[in-house]
């Protein structure tokens, strides 16, 4: 016999479900989540108001249910309902589940009693469940207008293509402010170039800074890499001479971006810090059958290379402090002296994709070692879905996640 922790407010439906479960030989109990579950109050309040019906079943049994009629879902304005249909197979694994359940029943007995008392106490003081009412307002500031969302797609050759997209985050939409992320993508001969930037939320002109930094850094790289071909030789990696040159190009690209911001600030008669932005730049070319990837990064965000499956190389490291949203910008004083340490190379065969993204995306795929492959798999799937890849990426970046409301920007070079 299996114990099912079961809770329901609507008496009629409760009886229906009870009968259903009983017909399968279950014991139906009025007991729910553990006393130490942090979601308990939110949960209880919904139950008290009749918004939730929940049938808690042992996890091992869950996969024997033919289909889940309603999922336990925290999405906006949807009542949380979880209801199952059972298959015939349900009794086959009964015994295993019994042991586990019974064990839990024992240890939880005290908790459950407490839980019931707690529930009675809470009943009167519970508030309605909090649903964030995000607004979607157009930017109030008509100066330096940036489109809410923007996407780009460029075919490099038969093997490679580039896509990039940038979305205004929910917080900016709520406040009626502009997107402060930016990207630029481009090509120069056999080189492909990706730049993304995240303007500092606290600065009035950061959207100007972010866009300008991307454009200037990319233009500078295109200028440097014009007719530039890595020398062929017998070694495993390009010559020292070539690598040093690339390194200096990447360094000067950041310096050029800083310079452009300073000039822009002078013209506007504002402090350059008002245009604070991060900047991530990554370039790619093929050399003797290998992918040569070089990058420079100031601030948070992630540059990553995907080798297929679960294999991801992270290039460089994000500037994150002790707390979330603590970072560095290209306008941070004396950042120039640190640039040498911020340049990274990867020279490997079998590269499937190279990407640069702002923290609005990579923070949702953390820790990177575990989640970046998931991101690559999902993104590559949408890129190859048949839709225009830039728009497809833009769509992808609209995923929902609680606590994630930053602008989201991603630029990716991928095998077509």
């Amino acid at each position: 016999m299996i114990h099912i922790s079961f809770f329901k407010v609507d008496p009629r439906k409760q009886r229906e479900l009870e009968v259903l479960f009983r017909s399968y030989g279950f014991i139906v109990e009025e007991a729910l989540i553990h006393a130490n579950d942090p979601q308990r109050h939110a949960f209880l309040s919904k139950i008290v108001q009749g918004l939730i019906a929940i049938a808690e079943v042992p996890e091992a049994l869950e996969r024997n249910f033919t289909k889940i009629l309603y999922r336990c879902d925290q999405q906006k304005q949807k009542p949380i309902v979880r209801k199952y249909e059972l298959t015939e197979k349900v009794f086959e694994i009964e015994e295993k589940a019994i042991e586990k359940e019974e064990e839990r029943e024992k240890t939880d007995k005290t908790e459950k009693t407490l839980e019931k008392i707690d529930r009675v106490e809470q009943k009167e003081s519970l508030d309605p469940p909090l649903e964030p009412a995000w607004r979607d307002l157009p930017p109030q500031d008509e100066q330096d207008w940036v489109p809410l969302h923007v996407a780009d797609y460029q075919i490099v050759n038969d093997a490679w293509a580039m896509a990039a997209a940038s979305r205004r985050g929910k917080l900016h939409a709520h406040q009626g402010t502009h997107r402060e992320d930016a990207f630029s993508i481009g090509q120069e001969g056999a080189w492909t170039l990706l730049a993304v930037a995240d303007g500092a939320g606290s600065c009035q002109y950061s959207r100007v800074g972010a866009a300008l930094a991307c454009q200037k850094a990319l233009l500078h790289m295109q200028h440097c890499l014009k007719d530039y071909v890595l020398a062929e030789h017998d070694g495993d990696i390009p010559s020292q001479n070539d690598l040093l040159k690339i390194k200096s190009y990447l360094t000067t690209a950041i310096l050029e971006a800083i310079q452009a911001l300073k000039e822009e600030a002078r013209e506007r008669e504002i402090k350059v810090e008002e245009m604070s932005t991060t900047l991530l730049l990554v370039i790619h070319t093929l050399w003797q059958g290998k992918s040569v990837v070089a990058s420079v990064q100031v601030g948070d965000g992630t540059i990553a290379i995907w080798h297929g499956g679960d294999t991801v190389t992270l290039l460089g490291s994000a500037d994150t402090g002790t707390f979330a949203s603590e970072t560095r910008f290209i306008t941070t004083r004396q950042i120039e002296q640190e640039l040498g340490h911020r340049i990274f190379f990867s020279i490997k065969k079998g590269v499937n994709a190279v990407t640069a993204m702002t923290d609005g995306v990579c923070d949702d795929f953390f820790p990177a070692e575990k989640e970046m492959p998931v991101l690559f798999q999902q993104v590559l799937k949408v890129l190859k879905d048949g839709k225009e890849p830039g728009e497809a990426l833009l769509d992808f970046l609209s995923y929902e996640r609680r606590g994630s409301f930053d602008d989201r920007t991603m630029a990716i070079l991928f095998r077509r």
């Binding site: 994150t320 707390f323 560095r328 941070t332 606590g403």
Partner: protein, 221 residues
């Protein structure tokens, strides 16, 4: 549309600590105003989607002793604590509790963990501390700016603003403490919470970007 809510949560929280003076001098109208103020703060935060998704509140009160009345709790689960005014002003003890909370309750960034947003701490007092507070104040001041954005608000004519300056650089003075003053103060707290997830530079040169305080509250230079 993709829903990533089920991914292992590394949710960033914005911890907000309220250190509230509940000593005898707050008896009567002030404590009632404070109660209303806390209620007001909660209800205005509950209107802010960003606060709903990130803000976690804790209340530490101090009178003859200090106590963390509410541990760091999300808005949905937050219950206003019972605030009663009596006894002396154990600010030092409250600061010790704060230090411990910043240490144990607030998540710092590591390779496998997303750090919380930098905590906001509001200290509200109307008197002169009666316990030994210099030591704890010094510890907090050394850490302030690194571990949290600490804002001390002295209210009424009897508050010792010099004491507060030894806890943090950001000291505000609220001369009267009528219910409306408290409401304005807590409205400002709510606005500060909305700004606290903005990016800032890690060199710690300037404190958090805070909205300008209401006209009834002066910044103590």
């Amino acid at each position: 549309m993709l829903n990533l809510d089920k991914m292992e949560s590394n949710q960033r929280r914005l911890p907000v600590y309220l250190l509230l003076d509940t000593s005898g001098s707050m008896h009567g109208q002030p404590i009632e105003a404070l109660r209303q103020g806390v209620k007001y703060l909660i209800s205005s935060l509950k209107k802010e989607p960003q606060a709903i998704e990130t803000a976690y509140l804790s209340v530490i009160t101090f009178s003859s002793t200090a106590k963390q009345m509410v541990p760091l709790t999300d808005l949905q689960s937050f219950r206003e604590p019972q605030l009663d005014a009596n006894g002396t002003t154990a600010l030092g003890e409250a600061l010790k509790i704060l230090e411990r909370c910043l240490d144990t309750e607030v998540k710092k960034s590591t390779a496998t963990q997303k750090g919380d947003y930098k905590p906001l701490v509001f200290i509200l007092t109307d008197g002169v501390p009666t316990d030994s507070w210099e030591g704890p104040a010094n510890v907090i001041k050394q850490k302030a700016g690194k571990l949290a954005n600490i804002i001390a608000v002295g209210c009424g004519p009897d508050v010792d603003l010099n004491t507060l300056k030894k806890i943090t650089e950001i000291v505000l003075h609220m001369e009267s403490y009528q219910p409306d003053d408290f409401n304005q103060f807590f409205r400002w707290v709510s606005a500060s919470v909305s700004m606290a997830s903005q990016k800032f530079t890690a060199d710690g040169e300037k404190p958090a970007q805070l909205p300008p305080p209401p006209p009834t509250i002066q910044i103590v230079p």
